[in-house]
């Protein structure tokens, strides 16, 4: 990354807003995604995905591969469709009545929107961490044991104990909570709650973890811990993260995808996107001219 861009990332106000451009004035009448949306060893392949909320189209013709054991960051201004796209990957949008998804989404080359696919089992394979920490109003132990219990992953109490401990260790929370596993999870601090939610997700042993702005409600120290955690988790999991913080995307991801008004504008190696964006819109966004 060159220095000038780094400066802008650190202080986006430097040249931001000096020449305000509204999103309307930008030309988004383009056709194809710039960069390399495809991967050799893809875990998830999405092909020509369109998402509609009733009559409003939220996602326009997005094709993107998510490689195995990579961290891919989805960035873009508010309302650009990145969260909607993320939620199509584990069919979380099914819970919204008016939402309709078109196109193909393949997990290990199986279409997850086919009739045979059970969304409940899919969500066990593709876990999700939400923007606001949402621990269940149960004990820390029961929060982590929730998934294994409903899926019958363990045969007895001691196996479950081990799985809970292991998940908490992987989420970097065990040392802080080992003396109070039976205290309510809602009593933890915001950052601890979010790591508890990550532990809860890991406990189900998913293949992919979707993270929807997992650190946006946290302070910088808690954020740093979550980011450190993601670096460790990518050994075992494929991670898709939506973030508003470009520094965060630059720190944690190998690839970055830039969304704008429901379209996938550019995909590439993270370094390349932040140092040498190919598309005019990407450049304007990462240099802080809008968004």
């Amino acid at each position: 990354m060159n220095e000038a861009v780094m400066n802008e990332l650190v202080d986006p106000t430097m040249n931001a807003r000096s020449n305000p451009e509204t999103e309307d004035s930008l030309n988004i009448e383009y056709t194809d995604t710039v960069g390399q949306p495809l991967c050799e060893k893809a875990k998830i392949r999405t092909q020509n995905v369109n998402v509609f909320y009733a009559d409003n189209q939220a996602i326009h013709n997005v094709s993107l591969d998510i490689g195995a054991h990579e961290v891919i960051a989805l960035i873009g201004p508010s309302g650009c469709g990145k969260s909607t796209y993320l939620r199509t990957l584990n069919r979380m949008n099914d819970t919204i009545d008016i939402c309709r998804v078109e196109g193909k989404i393949l997990l290990d080359d199986e279409n997850i929107y086919s009739k045979k696919q059970d969304p409940v089992l899919l969500r066990a394979r593709v876990g999700m961490v939400f923007q606001k920490p949402n621990p269940f109003p149960k004990s820390i132990y029961d929060n982590v044991a929730y998934g294994p219990r409903i899926h019958g992953l363990t045969r007895n109490k001691s196996e479950l104990d081990d799985l809970v401990e292991d998940s908490l260790i992987k989420a970097g929370l065990f040392a802080e909570v080992k003396d109070r596993l039976h205290a309510p999870g809602t009593g933890l601090s915001g950052g601890q709650q979010q790591r508890l939610c990550i532990a809860r997700t890991i406990a189900v042993q998913p293949e992919v973890i979707l993270m929807d702005e997992p650190a946006s409600a946290l302070d910088p120290i808690a954020t740093a811990k979550i980011e450190e955690l993601m670096n460790e988790l990518k050994e075992n999991f494929t991670i898709v993260i939506v973030t508003h913080s470009m520094q965060q995307a630059a720190r944690v991801s190998q690839r970055t995808a830039y969304f704008h008004m429901g379209r996938l504008i550019e995909v590439g190696e993270t370094d390349q996107i932040f140092t040498n964006p190919a598309h005019e819109l990407t450049e304007k966004y990462i240099t802080g001219r809008f968004g």
């Binding site: 819970t95 969500r123 876990g127 949402n134 309510p184 809860r200 997700t201």
Partner: protein, 460 residues
Amino acid sequence: MKFSALIFLLLLFAAFSYFMARQKITTAYRQHKQKKKILTLPKYFGYVAALCSLLPALLVLFFLQVVEEPYINSEISAYIVESNIDANEDLDLYLNDIKSADTPEKVSALSPEKQQVYQRYHEIETTTNRTISVVVLALSILLAIWGLKKINTDTPARKVFEKIIEGILLLAASIAIMTTVGIVFSVLFESTRFFGEVPILSFMFGTEWSPQTAIRADQVGSSAAFGAVPLFVGTMLISFIALLVSVPLGLMSAIYLSEYASKSIRSVAKPVLEILAGIPTVVYGFFAALTVAPFIRDLGESLGLSVASESALAAGLVMGIMIIPFVSSLSDDVLSAVPQSLREGSLGLGATRSETIIKVLIPAALPGIVGGVLLAASRAIGETMIVVMAAGLAANLTVNPLEAVTTVTVQIVTLLTGDQEFDSAKTLAAFALGLMLFVTTLILNVIALHVVRKYREQYE
């Protein structure tokens, strides 16, 4: 002067002081040319001035009205004694005759002596009324003038107004509380009179209830028995059957409405369900007595069971239907209030909808659900009409739902209807039953509160 006219005049004075005070402050503001600063609005000074003339006058009026009657009574009694009129009847009755003569015909129908007393009574009443009116009006005018004179731009009008509002709200709240306290004490007092005649232990633990006291000693059933156990067992039996019906049905319909139903179904089904609560209980009562009870009896007979034509089961079933809305409406509200993020968290882990509901939503909504059940239970315990019509009056000590039983509330009704001497044990028993019912529901509430505190899963 008539009471209504007096009130009207007081309001008129208050309105007058309002406008005068507002005018005074507006003028003062204009003279000081303080337009740029943000000032207390003139209307607040108006309110303060108006209340200053109105409130004390109303209080004094209320007080005088209360003491007026005893004063007139004592005056007229003194007059009767003074003029040596022979009021050999009860003095109260004598006065009553005179006071009830409100038309000229009735007055002329009185005996000459009474007419004389009536004249005196009329004089006293007129003078007292006039005095009250003059005092109240004078007070109101004086306070209005004093207030208008005192009020100026430095008066903390907004603060004073807020204080007055607070006082009015406090008064409203305390009326409800005082009423409750008053009822409790009156029930408690009458109950102690009852327990003076019937030992408290034989009331609480006696198993026979037959409150008929004979007028003559040689009549049948001359010895009354006040054992409340059959009544409480009957109440509990019917309430239990009702809850057995309403809790599962209500909870499940609440879950359907809040978690599964589409918006359009919900917008129709919820109000319709709540209409159930608006049906008068007497309608449920004859439905229970004329339709459900015979149906159960016939069904029982065809199965070879002997069923009373008035059975606890019939009353309990219908009562259960009646209290469904109390369970479902409250549970629906609390389930809907559980944050969406908890649902998504559970679904995101691969839980099904029903797993999410059982393991996350219901524990989180437990306090509200228990609250709804409790409300339904107290309705069931206090319900009278359905039981009178469908379960009968026979105080059987049984837990067999196919037999006729009776409840505490039904017995209170039968004890107090008809001509009764108010100080007989039979009448006073109603208060004792009421007290026990009150204590029972109180204990239920405390238990439920404890359960909720222990098992609730608190989100946020």
